[in-house]
Symmetry: C2
Amino acid sequence: MMELFFKPKSVAVVGASGTPGKLGYVIVKNIADSDFDGEVYPVNPKSDEILGYKVYKSLTEIPGEVDLVVTALPTPKITAAAMEECAKKGVKAVIIESAGFAEIGGEGKVIQQQIVDIAKKNNIRVMGPNCSGIVSRNIVTSIYPMTKKVSRGNVVLIGQSGLLAAGMASDIVENESLSVNKVCSIGNKCDVNENDLLEYFGEQDDVDVISMYLENVSDGKNLTRIAKKVAAEKPVIFLNGGRTDAGAKAAMSHTGSIASNSKIVKTAIQQTGMIQADDFGEMKDFAKVFSTQPLPKGNRIAVITLAGSVGVVVSDLCAEHGLELPKLTPDTMEILKDKFDTPVSNPVDLFFSVTKIGFTKTLETTFPDALKDPNIDAAVLILAGFEYTQEAVQKKIIQKIVAEVGKPVVVCMIVGYNKYKNVITDELGKDLPVFPSLISGVKALSKLCEYGIRKHQNQP
Amino acid sequence: MMELFFKPKSVAVVGASGTPGKLGYVIVKNIADSDFDGEVYPVNPKSDEILGYKVYKSLTEIPGEVDLVVTALPTPKITAAAMEECAKKGVKAVIIESAGFAEIGGEGKVIQQQIVDIAKKNNIRVMGPNCSGIVSRNIVTSIYPMTKKVSRGNVVLIGQSGLLAAGMASDIVENESLSVNKVCSIGNKCDVNENDLLEYFGEQDDVDVISMYLENVSDGKNLTRIAKKVAAEKPVIFLNGGRTDAGAKAAMSHTGSIASNSKIVKTAIQQTGMIQADDFGEMKDFAKVFSTQPLPKGNRIAVITLAGSVGVVVSDLCAEHGLELPKLTPDTMEILKDKFDTPVSNPVDLFFSVTKIGFTKTLETTFPDALKDPNIDAAVLILAGFEYTQEAVQKKIIQKIVAEVGKPVVVCMIVGYNKYKNVITDELGKDLPVFPSLISGVKALSKLCEYGIRKHQNQP
């Protein structure tokens, strides 16, 4: 049934508009600009053609079957009427984008319940209201104009908030290196909720990472059951808005819903093995690491640095985030010592070698050995924005080493992040997670190790 | 005496070189490119002229007085000999940049002690060895080529690490909006240490913020005494490398010094009111907030947001960092309600108003009132990278409001950080601290409030 939302063969937009800027126009335009190759039916009693599509006066007038209906109607009442028409037409999936329902209370709440009643009676699944639907390569029902096509990535983002899910989706698609498959904004969750999506995406082979932002949990018991099953297979990153009293109060005035008791959610996270994020940035950071790096079997980290002091601070941060910096094996130390002509420990300080034989050569002769070391599960690679770093990135030196060794690596930039952003972050960032600070990279890696260890332990 | 390092009237570079790329060349070039208007004396027995300066065979051959000597000599032994010559010449301040002293042990350690003995006997102050000296508008003795001139800012950075202090200095000067006055790299601290610099900069009127990175504390008792006095006047931000066992081990192999017992440092930080940073990024972030924003008297925050969900997460982060989100006063709520036509709480969600009257007008009619509210000490302003935000920044709308109200504000970007970086971050970042994530902005503001409250309480 959830397939109808994500892989419909036909879509009707009820409340379609020919006026650029209007929600009913943007949705039709977004669908037109996506890879959707099924039938598109704009519905509007007053138009004949929108963006080249024939417009229908009503849903029931549409000749073929309609898999998915997206509504962009001015009032809740008219939306409820459209639901009745959906029932008549035999539609089984509806996305209601407009706001003004339960989140404002009063009549909005009453009408939302009417919509739920119609849906239940007619076996219709409803996403929303007060949401911005779906952004994917196949279909974009979002209010937000997507100027580029979504990638065919392996990350799914689920958000409760309309603006953010849409804005963030667009931002990631346009500006970030995160490889997104779908973004879903589920708004008031009058019917379809996070559990439905978790279960669905848990079963999709092209989805490797699920990230979600929720201000309240629709059904804690089911979340725990489903998330446990899904998180055993693939990482589920969870940003829980309203986890403090202050946040809960803000959530109340934002979505009108009482934020989930933070203790219940905390317990659910612990029981299910979901990964907690504290910020939208972390949600993206963690997703980037999980979606691009293999899972480590342990938490033993090699730190590769250009400056001793950065090695010191990263060592501190690793220790504070539950990561270990073991000694390299005597074999590796011997190999590195020969190459460096000085004793090498962990952190591996490249500085003197770089001044002698250059950055690229130093990296090629030391990084693979340190990363391959049997004492090492993963690495933090510190890069500085210099000419030679840019050269190494453009020659794919770092990317090749990481790919060949097959262990997870996060890159942290210390200086020159802004100056070399285009090359180092954007270019290297296609293959590896690149962080503008030490703390963000170490925290993300700690989450990867935590999950990797748990998964490894649970394997038969 | 410390004045001689920072405001010398004459500088000699012993080991000056005419060969571009060499340390002895870079130092002369950097001094030449700085605003230094005193005498410059390159010393090298084999040259006649370097970069237009007359070269002297030895220090004693120089006709006038020499306030400051910078050495860039190939071996510790030759450096020790140069120290003897400094004594003969009556020099009172020496910066030794080259490495190979106590940090490598053995003979290096012995010679460093000889240098200290010469210094003590002759009343000479020595900075280094194994350091990269000073970067300032007046004089640059750093190894690192500074392509632009340092600003006449109000922030001083003190670092133990040569590469980092130099690299970070250059990075900040070239790429960051931090308004730096001086960067000092004190290396092995054989004589001049953090306490000397803290005391000196504590007394300088043009220095408002002192940030330091140390891997070991030279004299904990004096640090506590001096830092307590200085931190009562101006913020001292302290990144303590080696605060964990792993970090301490890395520090040992980095600077050869045993890292300070983390408990001692922790206690010193608590007793003195220094502000602890966990990462170089935080060191810069905190310095940016402290150097641009007034001190709040309390921790009561207004959150101004474009998206409800972001308000929720910022509320959570505020609560987790000891910040309160009070209700606005009834008066302010009434004013805002009139303007918004809906009830307004804290976080102040601008979304509906923006869709109705636009971003700039919404900001102008709501942000000043929320910020002026007597219940409010400071604000987190959430901006998204959109066309209209860019417009508001270019028209200086935000900057003017913040300047007029006179309360501290941090700006956090949610989407479009990369796309609009040039305008929003770089342009707005000249006047306000702009953060690419919520968590970093909230943490920095929490430090400002913590310090502001302490200072306010200690005032008579």
